[in-house]
Subunit: 470 residues, 2 copies
């Protein structure tokens, strides 16, 4: 195609997107699409075309066939899971990243891609007040962008397995003795990462009764008992802001226990980590001063589109010893001279796009002040929603932490009934979950378009369904 | 920012990108940037800004600071590794994908994202003449987009480990007995995947002397010997188009050996798989009729930007049994009713962007005829380059397969001397590698802007360096 044609169709797409964002902001779109399974499949031809088609037509089809069958994750009534965020700055960066088409597996395969990533990961470490040993500046640790908290957990875990086995793991695998530890409140990606890493089901450390946080004394006992039994404790995964209730494990105390025993501590701060932008929200008990690795999803609460998880490690060699890959076609003078960072050795894949441009655009376009305001704004909205829950006869606030509100009805049957009705409601998306064996409903704030009006409107929809269930 | 402002700055970015592509096409840019390590770091501030900055300024900075320090992977003189491709259709799709900001971990979290991916994976399976059991249509298998051939290999491997251990792997890990097999010609991501999966160093099956392809009889003997020794062979990884010489393992024969022994066969066709678009390039010996999984990087030779690897499996349950993750907050009516596909259970991460839009745009915008022509065009250019090598006194053509040309000088010292000179040449990028212990140079065609003129120009640069090394 001609360059002129691309310019025209890209401008058309930008216009459609701004219209789309306006429709989200004004509540003109449902959150959840109307079609049953198979709706999109039926609308798509069985076979690809032999002859090329016009991009303008494909764009038109996107809005006719695809957009109406998407869930709109940035809709102000989207209260499910945790947010997946976005912003014009992030979208612009994705356009530029794709257009430049760089591949940054090694420093030498796109120097600016690697150095930009080093710098923005340092920027964010500083903005979140993380220990300086997590920075590239320190010369010891550093940050790297992963696609997800899942991959971050897996990457940290294999580094831990390698360290715990003094490098035997690289050649001989897990051999059935290496162990990973977390609570039943860790995100599903944590046991999945342990499984993928060949360590099997993680050891579940009990939570303190009545809370959703790790019992540190129980962790210490279990680590010692396992070691005494000939097992090799390799990694503990703690959470800052659990998925169900946004609970935070006592990271600092856990760090002490792990440090004394030489066990790798990975901290999954996928959602709540962004709150660290605000000094008043930093929690001394949750500081990762003694952690080996720490991960935050910028794509959750930092106006950056998915995927963008930042993983920091205190000891970069711990990571590259486990994940380093060599081959004749990957040898490189700068690498051999140990002058540069090759991010292929900090992640699962060999290849990687230029991952950092998006975060650079977002941090610069918004500035730290505005990103802190995003967090504070969403928390204010969550406080409002929590107060609306509390005013409602027959509903009970389980907890409100950061931007998350968890509530239930007085009986489990009624909570489940409300959840069933909400699952069929196109104008709201909440997530049902379980706390201490009891069903709850979660509402997480985070849409760029949410405000007091949208929260009250969303609540009136939820309230209507609640009222219909006796 | 205002929507109007986004529209303006996106149009600006589109204009800059079209100028950039024109500069690549006309040879106005070097392939490799001039700066030593630290050039970009020095140009970037130490700390992020407190106040937001204008997107137009950030865009300007991108072209001032980042673009000059990138390797241009689509430059016609970029002959390194294998290509990472691109096209206006792919870039447009990235813009739209980012702007819509959908998250498709489950069918219910964005139905169109999942169903579009099912359909385009089926489209591509059909276009590549893959066995029908690899399609979603079949109801048994199906395709899923991964970020890389590395992740595809890892995902296939964990499914294999789970199957080989009859599900024990999920709870107990690899236990030191499960084994993975490949040759020393497999891409570095294959042993890395085995390591990440906790299976340790893979068993290296010998290649047939004088070739770079797996010795099938040796594979069969080794599988049987290992089983007799109490080990559990889980997966064999075969390659269609190896990284160094584009050699292809006898996939069909290997499949017979694996099938008889119940061992999972994964086929890594990252680069050469795209040649299957052309009927005349399909190789009966390489057909994956007996394979369990097959992966092709659309981002290598199919005009689709990175990341876009398509992994097909013959038995979707084999994958989801290994990778399925459940949690109270992930329960879902459509999933429970077994009506839909949840791609979170087909990959490592939990979350995922809408991955298929890009491939949909590319397949439609180009059409199969044009994508076949891309492959044929690049092969014609490789044939031309190979003939230029052969005409050159003192240089020796090692092999020309598909779009890859491998050559060396008459002595290893001279080959290494040429490689050292080329490593410092900004107007060419070749990859040095090793074949049978001897150094070689690789030149892989694949730039959208390459033609006979650029090949002759690139060759004259290489030839000049060769002439300077005695």
């Amino acid at each position: 195609m001609s360059e002129r044609a691309f310019h025209t169709v890209a401008a058309d797409a930008a216009g459609r997107l701004t219209d789309h964002w306006r429709a989200l902001a004004t509540g003109a779109l449902p959150v959840v699409p109307p079609g049953p399974p198979g709706t999109t499949l039926k609308a798509l031809p069985q076979r690809p075309p032999e002859r090329g088609e016009d991009l303008a037509d494909i764009l038109e089809d996107t809005w006719r066939t695809i957009v109406p069958q998407l869930v709109h994750w940035q809709h102000p009534h989207f209260l499910g899971y945790y947010p997946t965020n976005n912003s014009p700055a992030s979208v612009l960066a994705e356009l530029v990243t794709a257009g430049l088409g760089a591949q940054g597996m090694m420093w030498s395969t796109s120097p600016a891609a690697t150095e930009l990533e080093q710098r923005v990961c340092d920027w964010l470490a500083h903005a979140l007040d993380l220990p300086s040993r997590f920075t590239h500046e320190s010369g010891q640790g550093g940050g790297v962008i992963q696609d997800s908290a899942s991959s971050a957990a897996l990457v940290a875990m294999v580094a831990a397995l390698n360290r715990a086995s003094a490098g035997r793991w690289r050649d001989h695998g897990t051999e059935g003795r290496l162990r990973v530890y977390c609570t039943d409140q860790a995100n599903s990606c944590v046991p999945k990462a342990a499984r993928i890493a060949g360590a099997g089901r993680p050891v579940l450390v009990p939570t303190v009764p009545g809370t959703q946080v790790m019992d540190v004394a129980a962790l210490a006992r279990r680590l010692d008992a396992d070691r005494a039994a000939g097992l090799v404790p390799a990694a503990v995964v703690a959470t800052v802001g659990t998925t169900v209730t946004c609970a935070t494990d006592p990271v600092h105390e856990i760090g002490t226990v792990c440090r004394e025993r030489g066990v790798w501590l990975h901290v999954d701060a996928a959602y709540a980590g962004s709150a660290g932008l605000c000094p008043e929200l930093r929690d001394a008990d949750a500081r990762p001063d003694l952690a080996d690795s720490y991960a935050v999803n910028a794509h959750k609460w930092m106006r950056t589109g998915t995927p963008c998880d930042v993983l920091w490690v205190a000891d970069r060699n711990g990571l590259t010893d486990a994940l380093g890959a060599s081959a004749s076609y990957l040898s490189d003078q700068s690498t051999d001279a140990d002058e540069v960072v090759d991010f292929k050795d900090w992640q699962i894949p060999l290849g990687r796009p230029m991952r950092a441009l998006k975060l650079w655009y977002v941090l610069r376009a918004h500035g730290l002040e505005e990103l802190r305001e995003v967090v504070r704004h969403d928390i204010r909205l969550a406080v409002l929603l929590a107060s609306l829950v509390e005013q409602e006869h027959g509903l009970h606030l389980v907890t409100r932490r950061l931007g998350l509100v968890v509530f239930r009805a007085e009986t489990d049957e009624r909570t489940q009934g409300i959840a069933r009705r909400l699952a069929g409601e196109p104008d709201i998306l909440c997530t049902a979950a379980t706390v201490d064996g009891r069903p709850v409903l979660r509402a997480a704030l985070g849409s760029p378009y949410a405000d007091e009006t949208t929260v009250r409107r969303a609540w009136s929809i939820i309230r209507g369904h609640a009222a219909a269930v006796s």
